[in-house]
Subunit: 263 residues, 2 copies
Amino acid sequence: MQQPNKINVLTRPSLAEAAALIEKAFAQRRTLIVAGTCSVHYVGRASSTLEPGERILIVKSDGSLLVHRPVGYEPVNWQPSGSIFHVQVKDSGLEVHGVRQKPRENVKVTFSEVLLASALALDDSGEFSLFASEDDMHRAILLKPDLLEEGFKPISWEKKVEPGFVDVYGEDKNGKLVIVEVKRKTATKEAALQLAKYIEPIKAKVNREVRAVLVAPSLGKDVQRLLATLGLEFKALDPKTCAEVLRRTENSKLESFFKPATQ
Amino acid sequence: MQQPNKINVLTRPSLAEAAALIEKAFAQRRTLIVAGTCSVHYVGRASSTLEPGERILIVKSDGSLLVHRPVGYEPVNWQPSGSIFHVQVKDSGLEVHGVRQKPRENVKVTFSEVLLASALALDDSGEFSLFASEDDMHRAILLKPDLLEEGFKPISWEKKVEPGFVDVYGEDKNGKLVIVEVKRKTATKEAALQLAKYIEPIKAKVNREVRAVLVAPSLGKDVQRLLATLGLEFKALDPKTCAEVLRRTENSKLESFFKPATQ
């Protein structure tokens, strides 16, 4: 029952043997794994150099590329899908060369020694489902307030305001008070009416302008009109985006690239 | 000259054989590669489920984890370093279980079939160097204006202003004109004086407040005082951050997680 060509593996091959396996993998659009001593050169948007060391190269069937060092969850080099690859053995070593047209990018991985080379025909149609609760959505907005809007500054959350609790509560860039009600599914008329009810006592108490924003992945039928009538706003935000923000914000160095440095 | 334990490889092992290799890899802090049919369950900040399919699991020596599908450069599941792993064979299959304490996160990869299992002792101390030119830094600020400051809106760049060219030119969130001079190395007194010279003719021409910002990875000795004297500002920004922004902004879906949805 086994597919004979599902997997090819070479352990400690010569560079010529590895090149033959790699060339076949590219021709057959297999997923390629190569581990060994390599250096990497990239030129495109900016440029980079990685001096020799032992790493794992993965080239996927869609032409995306990853180079992984033995530590860290982030690849040291990567290319999105769409690169065209070729391989050749030169005096300098076994060269895996990827070229992408738009934007123009070149990546060259040069192996001086190969420990493992494997070509795999992988079949994967399994669905990925990411789940975030309303509470997760609150936390995502607190961690990344511009999910709501630029310049939003959270003050408090799950604040008791008769007759209940306000989900998130803050100030906009113009100093107006903002009351946020979060729903993880399509917002109904009931959600709009609930929010309208919550802001009345707040409006009565504070001596400043109050905005109320209903946050949900989408709006139900006729809810947009009701919101307008009630003087409420809507911001589209889905639980999946929030889940990703939660996962990445605390864990990821990537995050720092997307925030202005606060030095 | 070969290290005998540098690499272990099993092709199409039984689940019990694969589990033995995996257990040893965890005990010896090797880099582990397993390809085969698996499902993935994650619970922590939000939660996710990945239905069965053929993928590549990588667990690195620092306890970081990646699950890669056969397409796309992004992992479908990942964990940063610091997880503790164990493996066991159950009726449901071969379970690789990673637990992280802070934040509490659990990831479970269950293999029903293993095509390839390899444990590698990888040695990598090669330096990674990323290079961006001053022109790359301009482009990064144009692509991601909040690298300069929140609310900055670029209007033009490399604009001819006697006696030369202004690098980037825009408006701040309060409507003031902002002139930006970019240096990719430590900014000198000469850079500060050059910027002061450039803004004079602009101030003379426009009927509004003008700010001038010197952007560089750092300031030379006494340059901060000179800037203050000249009424200029400083923003720390390094070429590496700009290079990453350039690479990620156009290529990466990640980006969308860090921008407010514009729906």
